[in-house]
């Protein structure tokens, strides 16, 4: 097979020529340049939206927080948000009763009262703070003179207080009953003495 025909069409190559003839219908016209299509579509390469993808959620979150903050701020400004003020009316339980100078300081009730919750509105207070100001505490000498330092009181447990109360109750009843007997006997003796003097 002579390859010159395939390279520069010199010489003869029957097989190639047969193929050329078979494909002649698809041969382009060398004289006329290939026609370009009537319409040319130019596709612009879209820039990836990386900025939005990266900060979109952060921006949304910030916006939500900002909206909530603004709403709360305006509510506070209008004094609409209730502030829970607890007024504790609890009394010390049994085990916190104290002994001072031998006397048990009894709490008014043994039962812890429920905590009362009062809902009030908090007024908006504007306060000026001077940062450089150093607070000076001047004790009131007149008040200090009248304050007596209380000795640390000894606390009783609930069991101790119960036992003490029970014992005191028992001794009280015993003492009072014995006193009745004593008074009766003394009364009788006095009556007898009076009768003796009359006689």
């Amino acid at each position: 097979m002579k390859e010159d025909y395939l390279w520069d069409k010199t010489g003869e190559d029957a097989e190639i020529q047969a193929l050329e003839n078979a494909l002649m219908a698809f041969r382009c016209e060398e004289t006329a340049p290939p026609e370009l299509p009537q319409k040319v579509f130019t596709v612009e390469k879209a820039e990836p939206r990386r900025f939005f993808q990266r900060f979109g959620f952060a921006f949304a979150a910030f916006a939500a927080v900002a909206v909530i903050f603004c709403a709360v701020w305006f509510q506070i400004a209008d004094n609409k948000i209730p502030v829970i003020e607890t007024v504790a009316e609890t009394t010390a339980p049994k085990n916190e009763d104290q002994v001072t100078d031998g006397q048990i300081i009894k709490t008014p009730d043994d039962v812890i009262a429920p905590v009362k919750i009062v809902q009030t509105t908090a007024p908006r207070v504007a306060a000026k703070i001077r940062r450089n100001a150093v607070p000076v505490v001047r004790p009131n000498k007149a008040v200090l003179r009248n304050i007596k330092v209380k000795e640390p009181a000894e606390t009783l447990t609930a069991e101790e207080k119960y036992a003490y109360d029970q014992l005191m109750l028992a001794l009280s009843i015993t003492g009072s009953k014995l006193k009745i007997v004593k008074d009766k006997i003394d009364g009788i003796e006095e009556q007898n003495a009076v009768l003796d003097t009359v006689k």
């Binding site: 101790e160 036992a163 003490y164 015993t174 006193k179």
Partner: protein, 185 residues
Amino acid sequence: MKSFIKHLLKIALLAVFVLLPSAANAQDARLRFEKLNGLETKARDVVEVNIEGKLLDLARRVMTKSKDADAQKVSQAIKDLKGIYVRVYNFENENEYNIGDVDEIRNQLTAPGWEKLANVRSKKNNQKVDVYTMFTGDVMSGLAVVVSESKSIALVNVIGPIDIDLLMELSGKMNIPKIDIDTNK
């Protein structure tokens, strides 16, 4: 070896015979108030106090903690106390209780060991007051006070030694809870 064991048994037996009466005395000072249990529903006011054992120890400890002079005296008065049992029943109307139940308790005081200290009978309000004591040697091992009136019953049973005079002297001085017990009828 056998003779040693026999001696040991004899000593143990002797000790039991010697110690048993005193133990029995201590036990006997306790009165039984079970007969009065039904009165709780009938009475207007009921006071029931049973203080013994650990509760008494606890109360005693509180007393000793206190620096008050009267508290110290009471603490001293109840130093060897073993228990106090109190029942007080106040009724709305007269004769709401069975006097036989109280007499049953008075009968317990006729047991050997109890000695009558005072006995008061008054027609006014059918008042009957009995005070009994029990002694083990020279030491008081029990005290019983039975007060019955037409509208009330009061029973006090003290086990162990207690200074009666001191108790009467201090009654009302200490931080004793005020209770509704009729004293003057």
